[in-house]
Amino acid sequence: MTEFISAKYNYWIYIFLMMVGFYAAIAKRNLVKKVIGLNIFQTAVFLFYISIAKVKGGTEPIWMEGNPVYTNPLPHVLILTAIVVAVSTTAVALAIIILIMKQFGTVEEDKILKLLEPHD
Amino acid sequence: MEVYESARPLCAMLVSLSAVLLIGLSGRWPNLRETWTLMAAVLKFAIVLSMLPIVLGGKVIECFIVHVLPGLDLALRVDPLGMTFALTASFLWIITSCYSIGYMRSLAEHAQTRYFMCFAVALCAALGIAFSANLFTLFVFYELLTLCTYPLVVHKQTPEAIFGGRKYLVYLLGTSIFFQLPAIFLVYYYTGTLEFSSQGILAGKAPEIAVIITYILFIAGITKAAVMPLHAWLPAAMVAPTPVSALLHAVAVVKAGVFTVVRVLLYVFGVDLLEEIGLGVILAYVASFTIIAASVIAMMQDDLKLRLAYSTVSQLSYIVLAVGLLTPSAIASSIIHITMHAFGKITLFFTAGAIYVATYKTRISELDGIGRQMPFTMMAFTLGTLSMIGMPLFGGFVSKWYLAMGAIEAGRLPILIVLAASSILNACYLLPIVYAAFFKEPKAGGQVIAPKIKEAPAFMVVPVVLTGIEAMALFFWPSLILDLAKMIVGYVTGESY
């Protein structure tokens, strides 16, 4: 059992990080914290991709004479793309937060919702 | 059956559709606008009439419009059953058009262009129902008729009218979507076709339970036939201007309903299948209940149009009752009654409108002595009344005679009692009006002093008198309708009648 847990520690970390991010993205009332949560959430997935790329005893994915075992480079490439996507998402999210800050004067969701209520 | 390909049925419908366009464009010139209505009405009747010899010659006219989906075609077929309905509706449109013009102008109603446009669409839809070759086409025009009559019902746009209109729509559109459409799904699912056939299409294709479910869905879904307990839309629709109540809610819409019932029962289920499962009788008894109950309710109404509306509910059930009995005479009677009731009831509604235009009276209790001021109108009313009751020498007698024979053929004597009772009830709620109009003294203290009341405008009186006489004439010359009815009975029962 301990081996089952310890041998796959990288997956456990990814799951833990993912849940932390997920929680923050949903439960935090501050919009910036939500974005941070989203970032952690996405980063966890990157970790997952890097983990699946690892081949036991594999070297760097550089072609060498006589050593055919090397780490799979494709997930790394994929994750480079995903990182770009994550960065763009963060950029858009922060831009929207700035917009919200200008219009409402706050980035706390509770206060914004209160402001949005029809006042009569 | 010989098939005769022709675009004439389509033309008959397009005539009123093009009239819609012309009416819409010439809204600013009322005289021109009314010319279009009248021209379309006459032309339409002429086209329908031109198809009559072909149909009487034992042929069916077919016209294919468009293929929508596999199994769903928009196609028209003119057979004797459709012909009967189409003739009645298109002939009465001419008369109603004249009457409408008189009515709308006398009262200086608003939105007259919309009114005449919707009226033309309604007639197109009615003809579409009469001529449809399959369930899909029938359903299309059935829905179109509901939608285009809604603006007519809410014409006054008062809160009361809108409430009535909403009820109208909820009943008609709601049930057709919720019950009729699933029934059509079931028919298609089991048979793979929606084409009408004089032997029925469901026989042998669907398990008994499915047939029964489909049957119930259809009866519940064809609310236009106003069988109780789904009749409440008809009294609600009486907020409409009277010509609308006259043509649409005594002829086009409600007749479209009973016509659909007849069509579906005979051409989708088929006489044999219905007899085998014994479904006709249940319908006959539900209809009997409606006949009696609606008559009783009619007696309690003081509003003239409401009384007539309940009378319509009751009379429509004669047709449903007749087709439910499934014997040759009964089926013939259902077809004859479509026409007979149309002429009788339209006369009564026309009278109600004429009285309203001349005196602004709508209540029966205010009508004492009105026969002296409006003799022609009230004479026509009397003719209509007698036809409604089914007196000999009047059209209504013919259909009741055949219905009685049908009940005897079927060996269902309780139906005879229903017939007798309802005739008495008919007399009870209509004759007092005639009596009051001619023999009672006008009530003293009424705000309108008697000499001021004159007949309604000629545009209205002439149609009233015409339809009144027609209701009587149909007793002496019923041969055309009888021939058509006999042909239908021959087709659906497979034996000449």
């Binding site: 993205a25 959430f41 996405q42 793309t81 999210a93 929207i96 949005l116 | 829905e143 939608l147």
Partner: protein, 501 residues
């Protein structure tokens, strides 16, 4: 040149998206011209692709000449070609429509940027449809979504920013789930090409990893298409976005999501896996029925027309998923038809409402009194769209309902008919309220409800021609494809055959 058409379809709008804001610096109208021309070219290209597909069955384009499964493959069969035409068409129509509408609803300085982002959005949608590589699909999904967030946030109303942010959080979670699903699939198969995956997966259906992958896909894509319990980003986004954006989003964004859903369900995985492997069909059926009913019920409760249309969209997504979850040919045909049909009718409705917003600035249904006389053409188009939504025969709405109902009977699930009819009734209720107000309620000028900004002159004209024309085109198509339904049907038939090999 013609053999490179698949990639041109993506590169052209992508590059133009960069050029547009720059061109807008020279002259503002230039950027609009570019968008219209580019989307028109895309539409023409998609038609040409469709005709090629009809001749040859499928087009396979290898990016950079790399052979699949190593390189990225753009694979176009009946299904893509069909959806691609729809997306390009709506993009073009809305681009024409946008000019007048956004001039009023967006700050003038931001217009060139808006058009640039609009093209990015279109690029993303077309990319999702055209690609045959599952990771590529994720990338395009995110391009479309990111552009979508920006398009919503660009509106002047301050609610828009908040709606956009919520959409962003939900959308990113959904997309990340999809990414995880892809990772799991790659873990066991080592492939990213959808056709290749389809061949490798059947042997691995017992694997927990594959099942987990599927779960991630199902949930992630459900968020993207706003399937009922995961729908809450959608209503506010559609409501507060500029009219043109609401129109294109309602007509294409969720439809393309549904396309991706169908692709993953049936091309990457097999129908057989869904039914016998994980019994997903019943679960999906339940959520679809729930979406249909709840969407309709919530729509009845709305007083704001755009919100009402948004909730109605949630119900309509249920229809699409319902057809899929029946897992028979007729059902999938119904779903595919409904993708097109709903795009047309919802497009019409949002475009017509955009006209009202442009002239009068009102979206409260109560204030629509007498509009039928003031804006006859827009309202006629709206009525056509509404009838189609109700499912009146001879409109597109009837066609898809017909197929779904027959499919339900074929699957032996008659009770679904009750769901379908109940939702039709509810649809009739909420649309009739609008029609009633437009045509039949007497106008009372003193009782315009508070909060609505009545900008217009006392006697408004109909919407400008540039806005009317697209509205009329989509409305006419609603009826045209309702009568001549065999055209889209033949495509849907072929596509469903491919899906249910």
């Amino acid at each position: 040149m013609m053999e490179h058409l698949p990639i041109v379809m993506i590169v052209l709008p992508l590059l133009s998206a960069v050029v547009t804001p720059v061109a807008g610096r020279i002259h503002r109208v230039l950027s609009w011209y570019i968008v219209v021309i580019v989307t028109a070219l895309c539409f023409a290209g998609s038609l040409s692709l469709l005709s090629t597909v009809l001749e040859t069955g499928r087009i396979s384009y290898w990016l950079g000449g790399w052979e699949p499964p190593w390189g990225i493959e753009y694979l176009i069969d009946y299904l893509n070609a069909f959806v691609l035409c729809l997306v390009a068409f709506i993009a073009f129509i809305v681009a024409v429509y946008a000019k007048k509408s956004v001039e009023l609803e967006i700050d003038e300085a931001r217009l060139p940027l808006f058009y640039g982002v609009y093209l990015l959005f279109v690029t993303g949608l077309m990319g999702i449809v055209i690609t045959g590589d599952i990771f590529n699909l994720y990338v395009f999904l995110e391009i479309a979504s990111l552009a979508g967030y920006a398009l919503i946030a660009i509106a002047k109303r301050r609610e828009a920013a908040m709606a956009s942010f919520n959409y962003l959080v939900m959308g990113t979670i959904g997309a990340t789930f999809v990414l995880l699903g892809i990772g799991h699939l790659y873990m066991v198969t080592g492939s990213l090409n959808m056709a290749d995956l389809a061949q490798r997966l059947p042997a691995l259906y017992g694997s927990k990893v594959v099942q987990t992958a599927f779960a991630f896909f199902a949930v992630g894509l459900s968020i993207k298409i706003a399937l009922f319990p995961l729908h809450n980003w959608l209503p506010n986004s559609y409501t507060y976005a500029p009219s043109a954006v609401s129109a294109i989003m309602a007509a294409t964004a969720t439809k393309v999501g549904a396309y991706a859903f169908i692709r993953v369900m049936f091309t990457v995985f097999h129908a057989e896996f869904l039914i016998t492997g994980i019994h997903l069909n019943h679960l999906l059926l339940f959520f679809a029925a729930l979406a249909i009913l709840m969407g309709s019920i919530l729509a009845v409760a709305q007083t704001d027309i755009k919100k009402m249309l948004a909730y109605s969209s949630i119900g309509q997504i249920g229809y699409i998923i319902l057809g899929i979850s029946l897992m028979n040919l007729t059902g999938i045909q119904g779903s595919l038809l409904h993708i097109v049909n709903h795009a047309l009718m919802k497009g019409t409705l949002f475009l017509a409402v955009g006209g009202i917003v442009y002239r009068l600035g009102i979206t409260t249904i109560e204030d629509f009194k007498d509009l039928g006389r003031k804006m006859p053409v827009s309202m006629a188009a709206f009525t056509v769209g509404a009838f189609s939504m109700i499912g009146v025969p001879l409109t597109v709405g009837f066609v898809s309902k017909w197929y779904l109902a027959i499919a339900a009977l074929e699957a032996g699930m008659w009770y679904l008919i009750i769901v379908l009819m109940l939702s039709s009734l509810l649809t009739a209720v909420y649309f009739w309220r609008v029609i009633d107000n437009m045509y039949f309620q007497p106008h009372d000028a003193s009782k315009v409800s508070e909060g609505s900004v009545v900008v217009a002159e006392s006697n408004p004209k109909d919407a400008p021609v540039l806005m009317l024309l697209p509205t009329i085109v989509t409305a006419v198509l609603c009826v045209f494809f309702g009568i001549f339904a065999s055209l889209p049907l033949s495509l849907a038939e072929k596509a469903s055959m491919i899906l249910l090999r």
